[in-house]
């Protein structure tokens, strides 16, 4: 019995303290070091912020470089497939071209085309006006963690980005900035468990809080008592928090009280950060 206890003690001590040719540091030393780093980071000591900012910027760049094969391979596969299909596609296109040549453009077609072009022109003007307060950013990393839903963008405090700024995909809200470095920022997505956004929807202007569920669809909380959510109602930001501009479209309600987001978070390549709200938010 005592021998067994001795063996346990020896194995335990050995696992914690042993060092060898490959193990230059003992486990206990590394555990203490990791704990110190953890508490320094969590309690936000002044010197940790610039250190973390530099480390973040460096690792995000390395991460982008390391992820390039995983982005390149699907594109390369697609290109090869396209090359293989190009002959049959060429024949199909020739036939289609013949059909189009034989067709006469009707007046109705021209009218519709004209209308469409006008619409595009109008939307472009709107977009231009809207973009004057926004900054376009590329998504560097969108590593999907089962715990945290966030993306890294290639703009940071150098470009005037501050914590709390809303982030949009086209005109749809996708999240907000929660961490800024000099050259990059982290955006917390709407479906993250830690995300809370005040929203409004419906003809009566019902107020609620959109809470991230960790899944693909966030849920509506703090609804009026007895309120039953109907399916298919558009949800907008209410702007009650004075962080988000009111009226940014977010998604559409489902009958379970969830919101199907307009913007697919896993498909983001470029996003816009709204610089209009320059108020610093303290988290």
């Amino acid at each position: 019995m005592s021998s067994s206890r001795d063996d346990f003690g020896i194995a335990f001590r050995s696992a914690l303290l042993q060092r060898g040719a490959a193990q230059k540091f003992s486990l206990v030393f590394l555990i203490i070091l990791a704990s110190i780093i953890f508490f320094l980071d969590v309690y936000g000591f002044g010197f940790m912020k610039p250190v973390r900012s530099i480390v973040n910027d460096g690792i995000y760049r390395v991460s982008l470089l390391a992820s390039s094969p995983s982005r390149f391979i699907p594109k390369a596969t697609e290109s090869v497939t396209n090359l293989l299909n190009i002959k049959s596609e060429n024949e199909k296109l020739k036939k289609a071209l013949e059909v189009y040549r034989q067709k006469e453009l009707s007046v109705e077609y021209l009218t519709n085309q004209n209308k469409n072009l006008r619409k595009i022109l109008e939307s472009d003007e709107t977009l231009f006006q809207f973009q004057s307060n926004t900054i376009l950013s590329k998504v560097l990393i969108d590593k999907s963690s089962p715990y945290l839903k966030s993306i890294i963008i290639n703009r940071g405090s150098k470009s005037g980005i501050l914590k709390g700024m809303p982030v949009l995909d086209k005109e749809y809200l996708v999240g907000r900035v929660v961490e800024t470095n000099y050259l990059s920022s982290r955006v917390l997505l709407l479906n993250d468990l830690n995300s809370r956004i005040p929203v409004t929807f419906g003809e009566d202007g019902v107020q609620a809080i959109l809470k991230g569920s960790g899944g693909s669809k966030p849920v509506l909380e703090y609804l009026p008592e007895g309120y039953v959510v109907e399916e298919g109602i558009e949800v907008f930001t209410s702007g009650k928090d004075r962080i988000f501009l009111p009226g940014s479209p977010i998604g559409i309600t489902t009958e379970k009280g969830q919101v199907k987001l307009f913007s697919e978070s896993s498909q983001l390549s470029f996003v816009k950060v709204d610089l209009a709200k320059q108020n610093k938010e303290v988290f």
Binding site: D7, F8, I10, A11, F12, S14, A15, L16, Q18, G20, A21, A22, Q23, K24, F25, S26, L27, L30, I31, L33, A34, S35, I36, I37, F38, F39, L40, D41, V42, R52, V55, N56, I59, Y60, V62, S63, A66, S67, S70, R71, I141, D142, K143, S144, S145, P146, Y147, L148, S150, E179, R186, L193, N194, G214, G215, S216, S266, F283
Partner: protein, 170 residues
């Protein structure tokens, strides 16, 4: 001969390269597009297997740094993943010290103990000392699938380990 040595060295570095690459790259093991709850942590399997089978291939210092990198990429407080990984490393080293010859079933069981401790440390530190919230359900699914996929990786890594051993004997 020198070319063979170089190849042998690269093969020996395989687990280490894989661990760092998985920590730093965008590649993830969260397949929400296929099955919403399917996610597993390959890093924990790599650490457990190689620390228990061939510790010279995966030093504790590298485990610590891989954890730091993972924290930066994912957005957790620095040091959290390191502590979680080192917990797995500790259990693996302890099991290695206590046992002479292990089979897949014993490894599977002890791996369960390792990831249980690892996830408890992760969850307790995150919920008590950080403002970040994580879902315990998501963590449970992640733990379950990590445990479920362990034998699959065990066979792959055992085969790879035999290649390293053969290379050393040659």
């Amino acid at each position: 001969m020198s070319k063979f040595n170089t190849i042998s060295k690269v093969i020996n570095l395989g687990p280490l390269i894989l661990l760092y690459y998985l920590s730093v790259s965008e590649i993830d093991s969260h397949f929400e597009n296929y099955f919403e709850i399917l996610s597993f942590n390959i890093q924990l399997i790599i650490i457990y297997f190689w620390v228990s089978k061939r510790p010279e291939a995966l030093g504790n210092g590298h485990v610590f740094f891989a954890g730091l990198i993972n924290d930066v990429v994912i957005g957790f407080p620095l040091g959290l993943s390191s502590l979680s990984y080192l917990a797995v490393s500790f259990v693996a080293t302890y099991v290695k010290n206590m046992t002479v010859n292990t089979r897949i079933t014993t490894d599977w069981f002890t791996f369960f103990i390792a990831i249980f401790f690892s996830n408890v440390i992760f969850f307790v530190l995150l919920t008590n000392f950080s403002e970040t919230t994580v879902s315990i359900t998501e963590m449970s699914y992640n733990t379950f699938f990590t445990l479920l996929f362990f034998p699959f990786f065990w066979f792959i890594f055992t085969y790879y380990n035999s290649i390293i051993t053969t290379g050393k004997n040659a």
